[in-house]
Symmetry: C2
Subunit: 442 residues, 2 copies
């Protein structure tokens, strides 16, 4: 089988775009962030570009650790399942991927919502597993602090096992609808999960037929050692931060594929989809100018507080223009280890002041270029096996998704790496993934 074509996801966390102050950009429409029409336009634009899926990142709290977050950030968002269910009715092909915290959810609810969305969308649902990184989230769910990093990944793995088991409660052909005999379902095709594990006790069965896709595909974003290990065993696509250098990116890609093979799976069964936030100019200079404009929208205080957040330390009293020193302890850090480790790796390269550091962090979040150079960069990463595709996290909305679909997508399609049309009707088909059999099928 030849390699699948490029797989693109159209993602967002902040409704206004990837950056915390994207809502200030001239194109932004912050007054529309709670109007479905805004998301309809986003999803339909992505669908016109043959994106495999919409991808809704999510967290379960208001970022109020620092006052600047309340003042300047978009600390509010629609809930992913309600949003994607609504979008299922204004789109026909594109996937609908919802972020799910396995730490602060019950698997019965999650299995059911995803199955329901999969039925409503006729096979387009997916989930993005996160384990939740912040103590603030814990406090919204009856705990004082978050579960420890390794514990929440163990729970995550058990959670996946329960959810997939619940989806298999009813065989695909369990329902007979036989008016004459009065038999609605075939009792022999119903299975009771009876799960009792370290974290979860769930009897089942699930009260909804098996999803059209069998199992809605599983995305996963963790890039820590625990996150990669979980992805190798369970995920069908990883959403990851990939190194800037091609060699490092190829190494990361190979690492994920190896982990899948070691778990007894085909390398092809796990897609590697790095994040990509393109800033597109007609010239490199124009792209640079757009980046500077975007960066200028962010008050210093917000940049500093974001960095404090990601390092789990209050840096507010430090002089932003003195050399920044920090004792990193990746394994002992209980928020997102991958972002923390990424900052550590930057500081290992050369000295930075605080101001230089947060400026550099912002710059590295984006990829600047022209439509030609961005299409070439994407093609190279794809062809050199540094990526199976990308999750686009658009810098500002709605303008940058529209620019990307208008100017970059045609170049990728002309190059023969991006599909000219959808391969089928379900997200699994768009992803080139087989539909799994139920676990009880002989």
């Amino acid at each position: 089988m030849s390699r699948r074509q490029l797989v693109l996801g159209a993602g967002f966390f902040y409704p206004g775009g990837e950056h915390v102050t994207s809502w200030r950009s001239p194109a932004a429409r912050p007054g529309d962030f709670f109007d479905l029409d805004y998301y309809t336009r986003f999803a339909q634009t992505a669908e016109a570009g043959r994106f495999a899926t919409v991808f809704v990142a999510d967290e379960l709290y208001v970022w109020d650790r620092f006052a600047s977050g309340i003042d300047h950030g978009v600390n509010v968002r629609l809930e992913p399942f309600t949003l994607l269910s609504a979008l299922s009715q204004v789109t026909t092909k594109i996937g609908l991927a919802a972020t799910v915290s396995t730490t602060y959810n019950e698997p019965y609810h999650v299995a059911r919502k995803l199955a329901s969305l999969d039925h409503l969308s006729r096979g387009r649902a997916a989930w993005n597993l996160v384990t939740s990184a912040s103590d603030e989230e814990a406090r919204n769910f009856g705990r004082e602090s978050n579960l420890d990093h390794p514990v929440r990944y163990r729970r995550g793995e058990e959670f996946v096992d329960v959810v997939t088991g619940l989806w298999d409660s009813w065989d695909d052909d369990a329902f007979r609808y036989d008016r004459a005999s009065g038999v609605f379902a075939d009792r022999a095709k119903l299975h009771v999960l009876d799960h009792a594990g370290e974290f979860l006790s769930v009897r089942g069965p699930l009260n909804i037929p098996r999803p059209p896709q069998g199992h809605p595909p599983l995305f996963q974003a963790g890039a820590s050692e625990a996150g990669r290990a979980l992805a190798g065993r369970t995920a069908e696509a990883v959403f990851t931060l990939s190194p800037d250098d091609l060699t490092g990116a190829r190494r990361l890609y190979a690492d994920y594929k190896l982990r899948a093979r070691r778990a007894g799976r085909a390398a092809d069964a796990l897609l590697v989809l790095p994040a990509l936030s393109p800033i597109i100019g007609r010239t490199d200079a124009e792209a640079e100018e757009k980046f500077r404009e975007l960066a200028s929208l962010t008050p210093d205080r917000v940049s500093l507080d974001l960095l404090s957040h990601h390092l789990g330390a209050d840096l507010g009293e430090r002089d932003p223009d003195e050399l920044f020193e920090f004792d990193f302890d990746v394994a002992g850090f209980n928020q997102s280890q991958s972002f923390y480790a990424w900052i550590a790796s930057l500081l290992a390269e050369r000295p930075y002041t605080l101001r230089e550091l947060y400026t550099e962090l912002l710059r590295r979040r984006f990829r600047l270029g022209t439509p030609d150079s961005l299409a070439e960069w994407i093609a190279e990463r794809y062809q050199r096996r540094a990526a199976d595709g990308f999750i686009l996290m658009f810098p500002t909305l709605p303008d940058t998704i529209e620019d990307f679909v208008a100017d970059v997508i045609p170049r990728l399609t002309d190059a023969g790496i991006h599909p000219a049309g959808y391969a089928g009707d379900t997200l699994r088909e768009h992803l080139g993934l087989a539909r799994p059999e139920g676990r009880y099928v002989a």
Copy 2:
């Protein structure tokens, strides 16, 4: 202020209609139960009849206590929030009420989903609070058995307090979107709930703006003493089983209103909406014939097992044609006390064999009549203050909602008690309920 007009809800629990074997009726389309088009037709028909709301009943398990449930019942359904979010895009006026278990949910998730649905539907969301009655549900959520009846009602009341508090996290005018200053939200208009109660610890704030309705309206179905007490203090509409006799129905109505007043609320702030399952014939004889047809679709074993379920005892070995005796203990019963008490009241009237009992229970679930007699009955109940309206639980679908809208609704409108058009755009407007201020508003 004159009294509000009749308020109707279009409900279902089984996708095929109110009865467990409605899916066998000639009009039923069991193969469409997981296709949104089926529910779109239902909701649009209800909207054409100026129903205030769609009302989706729900449970969190497969009824497999008895094998007959698996064989003959519709033990599967779409998840309410995903379904109603999808329906928000194919309707424009009708309310969207989702059943929520306060025993097996986290209030942060529930507050967020309802707020999100309220935004997506521009003010049409509502919730129907249930406390979950079955041990089978407990086993899907990490418990061996359900919380005791009084305990789950205490938790329910605390849950309502937390959810409404979370909705008030941001004042209605908290968001400024001020590009020039970079201020997105006004910090002074954000409130941290910091709830720590008997069952729940929830810090907040909620990560979504205050819902368009302020608080999506609260329906509640509990009719036990604990249920009525909770409704009096918190609910805006009760969905109840109302006695057949007008005097008893008026007494129940007055009891709810009194409980609201005792809680310091206006009697008008709590709507009493009994369940109504009309079987409509052109003549009484035709209605009777339709009832017999529907009853004949139910195997004796299913009827017996349903009764066993509602009494929390296995009656399968009893002779269905001997006189039935049973020791009732309403206060000690841990499933639905109201249905249990209703059965006890029937047996207090006269002796029944088991077969007579389940036949009578089925008959009393429905109201048989012609369009004229049903419209007159509804008008009388409304005018004599035995009901503010009804939640219609249609015996079979899609035929009986279509018959009701075609034949009964015009009679109610002509009589001047049912609205000829929607009063506004939000469900609160349809219900004649004021939009609540936030709890932090001075």
